[in-house]
């Protein structure tokens, strides 16, 4: 069948999955007085529509920052404003100042769900289609399978269309950035990524690779000639686009500071809730959150994050190829997720954007959040579907020889020989183990009651297991990136 037909069918299936998951409950449904992320988004529409720009990020009589104050960069605020204007045309009650707090109705739910999917269709899905069809390698069957699997990725669907968020916008824009860089359109790529960063500050997870890749590329072209021109052009593009996005907040230094203060709430501590990163897991053994002062915590996480990201960054700077760039994206996001400050479970989504084989633990780590939102049923169905289909379409477990996993150079360098197990058996075992653990923990979290002395037992177990897995992946991807030999540039895994 023609590629356009297959791609269309994949997109339609992805949209069907999104709309059917949208039938379910959302974050904080009927849970007065604070509700959840759904109410937060509605509240931002209310605030941006009714209040002048200079009040958006400040605590005023009309804008109570404690009730879901804006804590994303300006582009989110402008997006909310746009949605608010449309909401105003349909039913002004939805965004009436103060009175619309906690507003819930079937029509409103449909409107909000529609805004998410509209953003999906406009930004994220085209990026994925272009990426799979033009940038990925392999036969058309492989490309279509990759397209289908990425579009059916449960994590994004459950968070965006279930829990309720707009991650597809920032992820989509970041993906357009990657696409731009991959096709050689560095300026457009930089522009797209700047927009992504101005939408959600979490995209900082991906910022360093962009920076080092472009810097390295300019360096390779010669810092006195073409390289310098390119560097200037990129810098101008970035600065101008930042300026345009942040324009209303740049006139008054107080405004700028306040926005930054809202984006990076340092006072909130090393982590909140149960998240699958190192600090939360470490906290089980050593109560670092209470032992260290907030300042020390900030420096500690800053330092360890930089350290974790250092090897990959240096390698990328020395060898700015697209393949290295993709690996660095993975490493950087893993490092930031594991070590940085105030990480949320949803940030895990940032790990899946480039590489297809998202491990089951990414999904599992979101389970506690999804259970709270009554999204267990769709979680099971979509996870099952995703795992089964990626296994079927890619025979993932078969591609586990040393060469396929790109550990060849590493093994040669370190002289390691997996003597007593064949490598593929280890990988298959690991995969089977992670799926089993995921199933087991999912079942326990949903069906069993934790013991009275350890009420958070299951979320903690889930986070800890996931954290261990992510550390493993950080190690693996760092090894692959660092030991890549010059000749293996041509082959690329999809």
């Amino acid at each position: 069948m023609e590629t356009w037909a297959v791609a269309s069918i994949c997109v339609l299936l992805g949209l069907t999955a999104r709309w059917t998951v949208s039938l379910n409950s959302y974050s904080g449904a009927s849970k007065a007085p604070m509700f959840g992320d759904y109410e937060a988004q509605r509240h931002w529409q209310e605030v941006t529509f009714n209040l002048p720009v200079r009040q958006w990020y400040f605590n005023t009589t009309d804008n109570d920052l404690k009730y879901w104050g804006l804590d994303y960069p300006p582009l989110t605020a402008f997006h909310s404003l746009l949605c608010a204007h449309i909401a105003n045309l349909i039913n002004p009650d939805w965004i009436e100042l103060h009175k619309s707090r906690g507003y819930e109705s079937p029509a409103h739910k449909f409107f909000m769900r529609a805004t998410v999917i509209f953003a999906d269709v406009l930004i994220y899905i085209p990026a994925v289609v272009v990426y799979c069809l033009y940038l990925a390698q392999g036969s058309s069957k492989t490309k279509s399978s990759a397209l289908l699997c990425i579009l059916l990725y449960p994590g994004l669907i459950l968070i965006d269309n279930g829990h309720f968020q707009y991650n597809s916008v920032s992820l989509g824009l970041a993906l357009w950035g990657v696409l731009g860089l991959g096709c050689g359109h560095d300026l457009l790529g930089s522009l797209a990524f700047t927009l992504a960063l101005s939408y959600k500050q979490m995209e900082l997870y991906h910022a360093l690779p962009f920076f080092w890749y472009l810097l390295g590329k300019c360096g390779k072209l010669g810092l006195t000639g073409k390289g310098l021109i390119l560097l200037v052009k990129i810098s101008l593009t970035v600065l101008v686009s930042f300026a345009l996005c942040w324009l209303p907040f740049l006139f008054d230094p107080q405004q700028t500071l306040q926005v930054i203060h809202r984006l990076f709430p340092m006072a909130r501590g090393l982590f909140e809730d149960k998240v699958a990163n190192v600090w939360c897991s470490l906290n089980i053994l050593v109560k670092i959150k209470t032992l260290l002062s907030v300042d020390t915590q900030i420096y500690l996480s800053f330092g360890t994050t930089l350290l974790a990201v250092l090897p990959s960054s240096i390698k990328l700077l020395m060898k700015p190829t697209f393949w290295q760039f993709r690996l660095a994206l993975m490493n950087s996001s893993l490092a930031f997720f594991l070590f940085s400050f105030q990480v949320h479970e949803k940030s895990i989504l940032l790990l899946m954007s480039v590489i297809l084989s998202a491990p089951p633990f990414v999904l599992l780590s979101m389970l506690p959040l999804l259970l709270k939102d009554n999204l267990f049923q769709p979680y099971i169905i979509t996870s099952l579907g995703f795992i089964v289909f990626s296994l079927y379409l890619f025979s993932a477990v078969d591609r586990s020889s040393v060469d396929d996993l790109r550990l060849g150079p590493c093994c040669r360098l370190t002289g390691t020989n997996f003597l007593w197990f064949s490598f593929s058996t280890v990988v298959k075992l690991q995969f089977a183990l992670s799926v089993l653990t995921m199933a087991g923990l999912s079942f326990m979290s949903a069906a069993l009651e934790p013991p009275a002395k350890l009420p958070d037992l299951f979320p903690v177990l889930v986070s800890a297991c996931a954290c261990v897995h992510f550390l493993g992946f950080l190690l693996y991807f760092n090894l692959v990136q660092l030991t890549e030999s010059p000749r293996s540039d041509k082959k690329k895994i999809n």
């Binding site: 069948m1 037909a5 949208s22 039938l23 079937p106 579907g385």
Partner: protein
């Protein structure tokens, strides 16, 4: 002749799993009053003795399916009690707790396994293409998708709520058995089907004529005409025993209880009116519309007296009897005669010149269409009875594929009013687009290189084909042509 399977069936499993996952995702979707209908029947069959099943009237949704379906609900009710016992209380009208919804939806998904098995059997019967390596382009694969992912079946069963998957599974299995030459099994399955849902009476004539002609008459003369001497009474007796025993099992208890008239009046409620509340897009819909138009015109031109016209409005959404104002009124007998007239050419054709199982299937489709167009109180969901069997013919013949595409697309569009809620609106659009896009591209690809085994490509060389055209109606064009000689 059954064709060998192409490679392993892993793709079949993947297709089944995929559509099942969508079905699971639709659990939370809107469900119609049919949900309450089935919950009520679960309650009736579980809580009351058999003698009261067809008399129970607490709910307006009285039992109006044949006894086997009642027993089916009875079986389900024993599993239902583990989900939520309250749903089995007859007085709990419109009871719809989350556990009830989950149970009912799961019951539809799991009974669909019958349909899955039947589709597998049908795929085995379809002749493979010239390039067996290309699984995605093989007729079996295309047929599997067209049946398993059929849009109409998905939204009627898994959103609107019904058990058509299970019933069509029995029907397609019966068809597959006829293709495989296992006629007694096919007849048995059809008898069971009639006792599960009597709407399949629409295609009973096709079965009757086909079995009589192609099964009971063992051999034809050399010129294909009848050879009465070869009439096998044994086979006729076997058929008779099978059918009669199935009906005896089904209606026996009610005959013994002297309740047969009551059961029959429940099964054939002619008081319900010529058209359903939502008009099925059939001939009588046009007839009603014409009558309405003429009456409006008549009033404008002062030819009719407003006071003398009957008051009942046909578009009122109520189900009741009424008279036509200008055109002659239509009684159930008239609809029966019209139906029989419309299907008799096809029946005559398979009697006079039988063309094996494919001819029989074609006749089934025509009977379904004829009954849909001219029947009494037809539901628009009945169009599925024509679309699903036609899928089998569509993957083997280019002409049939063309008819199928028109029929399926318009038939599915006509099902849209069934889902009128806002949240389900994008879902039905997406699923419709999916099915339509796939059916068009895959069938086009199938016949682009003349891959099909040279069947049904128009007139046979001998020039003895007849072309019959059915009613050209707003919702589609139907034509049938005399199928060529096939081996049974």
């Amino acid at each position: 002749m059954a064709a060998p399977r192409d490679g392993t069936l892993s793709w079949f499993l993947a297709l089944t799993l995929g559509v099942s996952l969508i079905k699971f995702l639709l659990i939370k979707a809107y469900h119609s009053t049919d949900f309450e209908v089935h919950r009520n029947w679960l309650a009736i069959t579980h809580s009351l003795p058999v003698s009261k099943w067809y008399f129970e009237e607490t709910s307006e949704w009285t039992l109006d399916y044949p006894p086997f379906f009642a027993w089916f609900e009875y079986g389900l009710s024993h599993i239902a009690k583990y989900f939520d016992e309250e749903m089995l209380v007859v007085q709990n009208l419109t009871y719809a707790s989350p556990a009830t919804i989950l149970f009912q939806r799961l019951s539809v998904i799991f009974t669909d396994l019958v349909f899955v098995y039947a589709v597998k059997e049908c795929c085995k019967c379809v002749q493979g293409g010239k390039r067996p390596r290309d699984i995605l382009g093989s007729p079996s694969f295309v047929l599997a998708v067209l049946l398993l992912w059929n849009f109409g079946l998905l939204i009627v069963d898994h959103i609107h709520f019904q058990y058509n998957g299970f019933l069509f599974g029995v029907f397609l299995l019966s068809v597959a058995r006829h293709f495989q030459g296992r006629h007694l099994e096919g007849a048995f399955l059809f008898a069971v089907l009639l006792n599960l849902k009597h709407i399949y009476l629409y295609i009973a004539p096709a079965y009757g004529i086909y079995l009589l002609r192609s099964f009971c008459l063992i051999q034809d003369n050399s010129d294909g005409s009848l050879k009465w001497r070869n009439f096998s009474f044994i086979r006729l007796a076997a058929l008779g025993i099978i059918v009669c025993s199935v009906f005896a099992l089904s209606f026996g208890p009610f005959l013994a209880l002297d309740q047969l008239p009551q059961v029959l009046s429940r099964l054939f409620p002619f008081k319900r009116g010529l058209c359903h509340a939502y008009w099925a897009p059939n001939f009588w819909a046009l007839y009603n519309a014409a009558d309405k138009a003429l009456s409006v015109l008549g009033i404008k031109l002062k030819l009719l007296d407003v006071a003398k016209l009957p008051k009942a409005s046909m578009t009122g959404g109520l189900v009741q009897e009424f008279q036509h104002s200008v055109l002659p009124s239509v009684s159930p007998l008239i609809t029966l005669i019209c139906t029989l007239i419309s299907v008799s050419p096809a029946l005559f054709s398979i009697w006079h010149r039988p063309c094996g199982a494919r001819g029989f299937l074609r006749c089934c489709v025509i009977c379904a269409l004829g009954s849909f167009l001219f029947g009494w109180h037809v539901h628009e969901k009945a169009i599925l009875m024509a679309i699903l069997p036609l899928s089998i013919l569509a993957v083997e013949s280019k002409d049939d594929a063309g008819v199928f595409l028109i029929l399926a697309t318009t038939g599915h569009l006509s099902l849209f009013p069934l889902l009128f809620t806002t949240p389900e609106f994008p879902i039905k659009i997406l699923l419709m687009l999916l099915f339509t896009l796939y059916s068009f591209t895959s069938l086009k690809r199938l016949f682009r290189h003349g891959v099909a085994a040279g069947r049904g490509q128009g007139s046979s060389p001998a020039g003895d084909s007849e072309q019959e055209f059915g009613v050209v109606r707003l919702h589609g064009l139907v034509h049938s042509h005399d199928p060529q000689r096939y081996e049974p």
